[in-house]
Symmetry: none
Subunit: 457 residues, 2 copies
């Protein structure tokens, strides 16, 4: 590894300059006007992989191209295969006025690289690219066969990648799947994430009178759809933050003792967290800590509500209808379709006959769970410890990575989530940044991880 370490330390500057080139592409997948930038970004990546000596294919999809890049095959019965996932698309930069520097003109400041996508996800997957480069350029035999799978639609749901993976499962199958698209618990806590939450979305609409009615002339004699909706929503969660939809928790895999202990051992400051979010106090499901609530308990969250008059002043009506958008975050082993059905059934049961109730299921994604005791997790722990100089922690993630469940079902390998993001990287927010120390440590970690995985067999 000495040669590799030397290569990495000699190339810190070019690595950062290349990352800047990558961040310069406004590859915003949700905004059609950036379609050309998305394609240019994919082309740049394909060329870059080719200069490193990888075999590259860009697969067109109904949306943005999927890039598959393979290292020259190392033959031998004991060479494991590794799939490294990433995404080259980014969130929209808006609101632009809140950025201190231009989102697509990356700027280094105090050891950080500012720019949309710097951390989510360009800087993270690029660290793995640089690690593989170090092996290839120094002619150090790669201990594993590496396939990069880099998509351009993560920020819009990865639907085309899902079909792609299902169709080409055999070809993509790997012993290990490395994903760096999460965050470390803190700069001092390199993190192995072993579970993420799933999601079940549902729209609810309550229709009353065929039109808005005069609240004086008619009020009192018909159900108010907003009030009915409020009562329906209130009937889903009790005062203790417990979801009272029958069967909601049936499939929840309870936290193991070691998990609770691990979470409690983390230096989490509730006050600082509440201040950061701007809430008067923290609150959630009774009987659980804040980290448990965020990482390991399902939620019933209202994302939006709408009904009646919402402009300035008053409009004295009984509104014709009211609607709400709901998403439940799910934990292993809840099933999104089943949860959406349970919620729908509960709403139907509690809804009075004086209104019409419509429920429309939205997008779904399965929660994800990987054993934190697998060979891959152990290798990741070794690599993180070496590269970051402190003991890795095992954590869960409250957000959803829908592709993980597809990987797990169709590619079978052990999934290793080693995030290089930091909690203050401003993902999806103005002034996103990548900590460059984390970027370089991430490259070193990746080189170590590949080595560890090669010797694990």
């Amino acid at each position: 590894m000495v040669t590799i370490q030397k290569y990495l330390s000699q190339n810190r500057r070019p690595f950062v300059e290349q990352l800047k080139s990558l961040v310069r592409f406004p590859s915003v997948s949700t905004q059609p006007e950036h379609r050309h930038d998305v394609l240019s970004c994919a082309d740049w990546l394909a060329r870059h992989f080719r200069t490193l000596g990888l075999d590259v294919k860009l697969y067109p999809t109904k949306g943005n191209p999927i890039l598959v890049a393979r290292t020259p095959p190392m033959r031998g019965p004991k060479v494991p295969s590794v799939l490294i996932y990433g995404h080259y698309d980014v969130q929209p930069p808006e609101p632009l006025e809140l950025w201190k520097t231009s989102p697509f003109e990356p700027v280094e400041r105090a050891g950080k690289l500012f720019g949309r996508g710097a951390s989510d996800n360009k800087g993270q997957f690029f660290a793995h690219v640089k690690a593989v480069e170090a092996y290839l350029k120094t002619h150090t035999p790669l201990p594993v066969n590496v396939t990069f799978l880099i998509e351009g639609e993560e920020e819009v749901g990865s639907l085309n990648l899902m079909s792609f993976v299902k169709q080409r499962a055999k070809q993509l199958r790997a012993d290990y799947i490395i994903v760096s698209d999460t965050s470390m618990f803190s700069k001092d806590h390199p993190t192995i994430t072993y579970a993420t939450r799933g999601i079940a979305a549902l729209e609810v609409r309550v229709d009353g009178p065929s039109r808005d009615l005069h609240s004086g002339v008619f009020g009192g004699s018909v159900a108010n759809p907003v009030m009915t909706l409020a009562r329906l929503l209130a009937a889903c969660v009790d005062a203790n933050g417990h979801v009272v939809v029958p069967g909601f928790y049936d499939d929840v895999r309870p936290l193991e003792k070691w998990e609770c202990e691990q979470f409690r051992g983390l230096p989490f400051n509730e006050r600082a967290y509440a201040r950061f979010l701007g809430v008067p106090s923290l609150v959630g499901e009774k009987g659980y800590t804040t980290l448990e609530r965020r990482w390991a308990r399902p939620t019933f969250e209202i994302n939006g509500i709408s009904g009646g008059y919402q402009g300035p002043g008053t409009k004295t009506i009984v509104p014709a209808w009211a609607g709400a958008k709901i998403t439940c975050r799910l934990v292993p082993n809840q099933k999104p379709e089943a949860i959406a059905q349970l919620v729908t059934r509960h709403l139907r049961r509690v809804c009075p006959s004086s209104v019409r109730l419509t429920t429309t299921p939205g997008h779904h994604s399965h929660p994800f769970h990987e054993s934190p005791r697998g060979r891959g997790a152990k290798a990741a722990a070794v690599a993180l410890r070496k590269a970051f100089g402190s003991e890795p922690v095992f954590a869960r993630e409250g957000g959803s990575l829908p592709i993980l469940d597809v990987f797990k079902r169709h590619l079978r390998g052990e999934i290793i989530l080693v995030g290089l993001g930091l909690p203050d990287d401003n993902w999806h927010s103005p002034n996103e940044k990548m900590d460059l120390a984390n970027f370089h440590r991430g490259i070193a970690m990746s080189a170590e991880l590949l080595r560890e995985l090669g010797t694990a067999h």
Copy 2:
């Protein structure tokens, strides 16, 4: 009256055309962008009154101008004074997509004039203008001195008119105050309304995090402001439709026996009513009939609710805030300020400390009650019987006419509510219309009523 009747029958067409001109002004008082239209409408009216020979003054206010137009004074000890009230402002036309014809381009169809404000209130007060015109243009001595008092802020609470009336009470004092801003029970039931409901408005806002939060990363650890608001609202009314705000019903004057009997005697078809409103079934406060609920029981109504993401698709956030607009309809002898305070206090009591609650009282109006046995009521009964050819009924009104309480306190005269609206006129709703037969009968009724009032002394 023969001359007058002839004048009326000869001028049916111009009367309707003039009403159309009046309806064409988008005089929406609650939307600042219509300020100019409101002023133009007032100017048009002032000019119109002048052409009829009335002495007109437009009084500027902090809001929209108040128009006072007086007939040339008839001197004599026995000439009673009559004040005729109306309003030239209208409700917002939204939602525009539900209008079959443009709200401010009045269209005649099947004997009805469609347009915002056609019935509420332009067509109604204009009927009285046309009756006075008939006296003046035919040189028939007016049996009473008439003062028109037409305001431009009824739909936003009449606050400036209230001050105006208080300040100029002496000048405006009249023996009778005629108001046509209510509805007839049905086309076959000309109606004298002797009580209206009051109103207490309140905006409620629940603030949680300082910004919309990622519902995966943070969801479960902070209160969802939409859910908290839903719970607050649901905690104000029970499953029996009973408002559970402590003290809410304390001042309610119970219905007298004759009133319940009068209401029960009215041909009210619950099924047809539900079908007309488009609701699956009628529902309201337990223990009361539909007419009692509409006319003589207070309500807690949500007029609008808003919070979080309301566009297409999903946005997985914990919204930063949510808000609702509430109005309570009040019955004699509830006091609006007291009710707003009771509701506020109740909300504060049930609101958890995990969010910030803001309540903003809105406009208030007192319920109104007039004896149905006065001279004015008797004169109105005669006039209605003659013009409509059937026996008038005495009814209450669910809507609010805030100015009535001020008239009663400061102008002292007997208040006569003779509505020319019909229950299906779609006040405050899309496709508002004025029945033109009612408009013409209303003009005839007004001419008769002025005569009756002149001879009543």
